[in-house]
Symmetry: C2
Subunit: 249 residues, 2 copies
Amino acid sequence: MPESTASITPIPADQHIQISAIIFPRMDQIDLTGPFAVLSRLPNSSVQLVWKDTAPLRDFRGLGFVPDATFADAKPADLLLVPGGPGQEDLMADQVALSFIAAQAKRAKCIFSICTGALVCGAAGLLNGRFATTHWRSVHLLKYFGATTVDQRVVVDGKVVCAAGLTAGIDGALTVAAHLRGEAAAKAIQLEIQYAPEPPFDCGSPASAPAEMVARSRNATAALTAQRLATAKRIAAKLQIAVSENSGT
Amino acid sequence: MPESTASITPIPADQHIQISAIIFPRMDQIDLTGPFAVLSRLPNSSVQLVWKDTAPLRDFRGLGFVPDATFADAKPADLLLVPGGPGQEDLMADQVALSFIAAQAKRAKCIFSICTGALVCGAAGLLNGRFATTHWRSVHLLKYFGATTVDQRVVVDGKVVCAAGLTAGIDGALTVAAHLRGEAAAKAIQLEIQYAPEPPFDCGSPASAPAEMVARSRNATAALTAQRLATAKRIAAKLQIAVSENSGT
């Protein structure tokens, strides 16, 4: 898809950027913390972690975080982050959370989903008619939200940016940073966080990993994927999205 | 330097790996959370975040974390993580913290420093006579801890692994994972976290960034770097490390 479909409005340097990230129990923390490392360094910006209450919560591998604000107290977001992880299932059944996301997204200049945060955005009605991506094991689910999957690590469509699985959030955040504050600002952040990756193996995507490793990964998570499919179908019915079951991802 | 100097002992699959990460106020969170995304997925392992008390604390960009255990309650670590960030200055003046790190390191099968966590390890006496690395703006400080800087993103020397700045922790963690649980386990994690990075710019190291951007970064942080140099010299005197002021990094 052409990057030229992007229409994120740059924000003037003297205008503060309010960044808000939804956090939730059993999210995958790197979906949040990778982008945080980039976006918390945007000049003239601040970040709020937002959840229903401000009691500490744990990501699904056990890392404990502290929300900064409740849905009721949250400042209006210019940039809204929606991370993923297995807890996204509960979030997609939570009308209060979905309504909050939809309301914040309406006003925001950019919505940025990471990993299976895209499924949450889909449930909030934000992906209908858009190009999108998500974790490689969930790309077949995007059509239920009216989205067309693009096989890219970062997809920009209008004011919605989707990053693929987990660590793709760092690449996506640099892309978002460049759109909002210009390439020079994004590059200065990349230098600061010394982001010149050298993965020790070439095994970070289903295209590069051995087929049997990909199959093992799918098998090990089959129950969660099936649950996510059922949820996606429920949302499609709720949002009255027509899905051809024979269409590709 | 030759990777063959590595002597991290692999841990048999049926033996649990206790991972402990020191966390502290004003650390840089991605030094912790990047490796956490990898290492929390090691088969048969668990992670503890350890600090003096278990009250929530904030990283230096404001992200709030919850420690899991105090120094007194911490389980003995097989793998000890030491992240960096500006709060490392206070840690290096904190004999209780340094003694805890030194004692845990003695028993651990692997010590893994990320970014300026290397300076903390140096202050705990763990880098004397070793090859090491740290954030690109701090590499000239390693000699004060008796270490020789190696211009690599990840440096393995004996049971000590050093990653360069911030995001290098992800590469370092995959290297550590491969040493402790074998390459197949590390590769499966890389696939899971979809780590096939595509930085949108080539600006993640002082070698690839424009010279004036590197200079601006050095200038903007000159006060902190000067403070770190003074601390390093103090530690060198304390540890009785002979440093040639004319030697390179």
